[in-house]
């Protein structure tokens, strides 16, 4: 299996002595025009990978901050079609690798084969589909991998080592460890079982380990040491954009 560009990008950051930075921004948030400016600012601000959210009407694995941003984007007329066209028009302009993160249904209705073709042309390196677990993902994973794109697995505090090993046999890119048993983003502290979950992920996967959900500030990272290779931040970034309209300042804190 060829190494994913996503894996290489995280390893490169780690070799430079830092965690890879993976911001999540819902496509079309806060509105269709300024979304592109924020995306460019994340890129210029040192993002290694950017997870671009595909808005969905019923995001039942997300908390309220991401849900509201997603609904706002839909009300602004954002769609997968619009997003892919916008990315295709800017293909090659981003330093960061791009990942599309969204629920299965909009991808299905677009046509999964056509999606893989258009996403590849738009410079996308991988997908995260939160409602597509291992038991259902084989046909979709195959279509993406044929075009060199990864399907990034999500695991959590309640994912045992055997299950992680099953994911590890087929997964590419990185492994996304959800820091809490829940859907709420930014919170005060991490549960005690997180260290064990990260250790299981490290043992089961050859891929870089990325931690997401509840990441708000760089100081939080010190407690994780070498147990993670990358951090993903979504809710905190969305809230920061809502409050200040600024992205560069948010990224500067992490550089």
């Amino acid at each position: 299996m060829k190494t994913s560009r996503l894996t290489e990008r995280i390893r490169r950051a780690n070799k430079a002595g830092r965690k890879a930075l993976i911001p999540f921004l819902p496509g079309g948030f806060p509105d269709r025009e300024s979304f592109w400016k924020h995306l460019e600012a994340l890129d210029a601000g040192g993002a290694d990978i950017i997870e671009v959210g595909v808005p969905f009407s019923d995001p039942c694995a997300d908390g309220p901050v991401v849900e509201q941003a997603s609904i706002q984007a839909l009300e602004n007329g954002a769609s997968l079609r619009w997003l892919l066209q916008g990315l295709a028009a800017r293909a090659g302009r981003f330093q960061a690798e791009l990942v599309l993160m969204g629920y299965l249904n909009p991808f299905l209705q677009y046509g999964f084969g056509r999606l893989a073709e258009d996403a590849q042309a738009a410079g996308v390196s991988g997908f995260i589909i939160p409602d597509l677990p291992l038991d259902e993902d084989a046909p979709y994973r195959t279509v993406l991998q044929e075009r060199g794109m990864a399907l990034v697995p999500l695991v959590g505090l309640n994912t045992d080592e055997e299950r992680m090993r099953a994911y590890a046999q087929v997964a590419m890119g990185y492994v996304y460890v959800v820091s809490v048993l829940g859907t709420t983003g930014a919170r005060e502290s991490f549960p005690a079982e997180l260290a064990q979950a990260l250790a299981r992920a490290r043992k089961a996967f050859d891929l870089p380990v990325a931690l997401g959900f509840g990441i708000r500030e760089p100081a939080q990272l010190q407690i994780f040491g070498d147990s993670i290779d990358a951090v993903i931040f979504g809710s905190a970034l969305i809230t920061h954009i809502r409050q200040t309209g600024d992205t560069a300042g948010f990224m500067a804190r992490w550089a």
């Binding site: 019923d58 249904n105 991808f107 209705q109 597509l132 677990p133 259902e136 859907t183 709420t184």
Partner: protein, 395 residues
């Protein structure tokens, strides 16, 4: 067939964080639900607490008018007033066996919420119910029943503020509280194993009806008719008859106001395949795959999806699915109330209306069973609003 699938429909399209509790539930279904001890205890509850078996009632006045025999399977006579209690008692009992102290559920019309809150009381479990804020406002009678029963009611303000949003919120809550809570899914939909588990607990409806009609008429019925929202009362009524190839199985979806392009709750007739709430099924959606708001005068049918087994029975042709609009359902409600002294829930009135509207397709002398899934007193305010005058003016 792939695990958890009915033909091309079903599956387990959920966040990885929900796989462990779903696996735990699959295991509990295979080991506990199939055990004799569980079945004995469940059947005793159905008999002594729910009041089963429910009667099969012939409608003499309407039968004379129609020229064939209209039979009602009286789920409206169950404790709490609908078929929902069959499922919630089964799942509550299973929750006890699994050693969890609490139930969570979602509700649209409030009947599943009431039935879950009741089962929780009967079996000494805690209960939390998610309900769309729109439904909280239009089903205040059931809201008060749930409060009286001591359930914690959470109004859901997101999205369309109806059943689908209540399910989203219930799924989120379940991710966080899976160790202590069992999700008592209210209909035969959602991720595997819920469609099978709920059918298992509702199949008593069709089993009884089949025995009763054979006893009363000496033959299998011409047709079994039931309304379909998520589809639990219909799958319960159909299941025992599926192998009887000659029996016509008719599911009735809600067509809403019935105008072209109006919001409706008829994904089998007017929707397309897609994935929502953990299942591949038929959905109301736009071309981008966003879920469309649904509508029906019957809150319990107001859902943009349908249980995956119905999607399969529809695709395979074993069952047929018609539509009935709000006005036809309201007329059927009045007709059954005035002809027989039986007030159907507006949901069940859709099934009655289908028979009235399609009487020409039914042979003279045939026996037709309608599953009367619930009682209509919960709907009196809505009915008065829709007919535009109070019942005092009916005469």
């Amino acid at each position: 067939m792939k695990k958890g699938y009915f033909g091309d429909f079903g599956g387990q399209f959920v966040a990885e964080l929900l796989i462990p509790p779903l696996r735990e539930l699959e295991h509990a279904y295979e080991t506990i639900v199939r055990s004799q001890g569980f079945q004995d205890e469940f059947n005793a509850l159905l008999k002594d607490y729910v009041g089963r078996k429910s009667p099969l009632t012939l409608c003499p006045t309407l039968s004379r008018e129609l020229g064939f025999n209209l039979w009602l399977k009286r789920e409206d006579l169950n404790h709490t007033g609908s078929h929902k209690i069959n499922n919630t008692l089964g799942q509550a009992l299973l929750t006890k066996y699994m050693g969890k102290p609490a139930l969570l559920t979602e509700t649209g019309a409030g009947m599943n919420g009431v039935a879950t809150a009741t089962a929780a009381r009967a079996l000494d479990l805690e209960c939390i119910v998610f309900m769309g804020a729109t439904d909280v406002a239009r089903q205040s009678h059931n809201v008060r029943r749930m409060q009286l029963l001591g359930a914690r009611l959470v109004p859901v303000e997101s999205g369309t503020k109806t059943l689908k949003d209540a399910i989203n919120e219930a799924l989120r809550f379940w991710i966080a509280e899976q160790r202590t809570h069992h999700y008592c899914f209210g209909t035969a939909a959602g991720p595997h194993p819920f469609p099978t588990l709920v059918r298992e607990f509702q199949a008593v409806v069709g089993r009884e009806a089949r025995e009763q009609i054979l006893e009363k008429t000496g033959e299998l019925p011409y047709a079994v008719v039931a309304c379909v929202g998520g589809g639990s009362n219909a799958i319960g009524a159909f299941h025992a008859f599926v192998p009887d190839a000659a029996v016509r199985l008719v599911g009735v979806e809600a067509a809403g106001t019935g105008e072209p392009e109006c919001h409706n709750s008829a994904p089998l007739n007017l929707g397309s395949p897609g994935v929502l709430h953990g299942q591949m099924t038929m959905l109301l959606q736009d071309e981008d795959g966003q879920i469309l708001p649904s509508h029906s005068v019957a809150a319990g049918l107001d859902y943009p999806g349908v249980g995956p087994e119905h999607a399969h029975l529809h695709a395979s042709g074993r069952a047929e699915y018609g539509t009935v609009n709000d006005a036809q359902a309201l007329a059927a409600f009045m007709k059954l109330t005035r002809s027989e002294g039986i007030m159907p829930a507006l949901e069940s009135a859709h099934a009655v209306a289908w028979v009235l509207e399609n009487r020409e397709s039914i042979p003279r002398g045939a026996n037709v069973i309608v599953n009367l899934s619930g009682r209509g007193d919960k709907d009196m305010d809505i009915i008065e609003q829709n007919i535009g005058h109070s019942f005092a003016e009916l005469g």
